[in-house]
Symmetry: C2
Subunit: 119 residues, 2 copies
């Protein structure tokens, strides 16, 4: 309590200034949590496949299921996750629901990820 600097374990490797600077630049915990949640949505090959399928065209649930060789239920569950993450958006037309990419961030993020893979 007497120190005006960060508590340390006695074997701090870098300067206290660096630690303080790092801490001051860190976004709020909530933001970091939300960011991890976003990436978690991308972190499943089924969802990635769904997103890629929607790169080309607006598709309904059964199209996606058949296209990727998945059950309708599995696709619906994953679309729910993608929708909650605001990565896809639905458009209802009769009994059919067409899904499309929510915005260009999806394309950009996936493209950036692909760049990293292909290095």
């Amino acid at each position: 309590m007497a120190d005006n600097d960060i508590e340390r374990c006695g074997f701090l490797c870098v300067h206290e200034k660096t630690v303080e600077q790092v801490l001051s630049q860190m976004p709020e915990d909530e933001k970091l949590y939300d960011l991890a949640e976003l990436f978690k949505v991308f972190g499943d090959s089924t969802r990635i496949k769904i997103l890629y399928a929607l790169f080309e065209a607006e598709l309904c649930v059964c199209d996606i299921a058949q296209l990727l060789g998945l059950t309708q239920s599995a696709v619906s569950h994953q679309l729910r996750v993608l929708k909650a993450g605001r990565l896809v958006k639905p458009r209802k037309d009769g009994k059919t629901v067409f899904y499309s990419l929510a915005d260009d961030h999806v394309r950009t993020l996936i493209a950036q990820g692909m760049e990293h893979i292909n290095e």
Copy 2:
């Protein structure tokens, strides 16, 4: 086997052409899997915090642990994951190992993710 087009369940919503086009544009399954794996690495708040900490400075394991209030073991385990995903790289100096961001893709991807969050 007689059809030259994609098998369907009889309730296909969109044109066969669209389905074929989507399928032809899809990357290989292995790529999609790798991409999901990459995003999975970003999809944890502890790892996001570690990456953010490394935005500002090269840090050793114990610095990160103390900075984020985590055990040394937990940090080491997560650094292993980050290293396997080629998101951070180590530099050994005596008994100390300093970690830094592997390349600019990390910054770019996180920045893009943040943009999506802040909409």
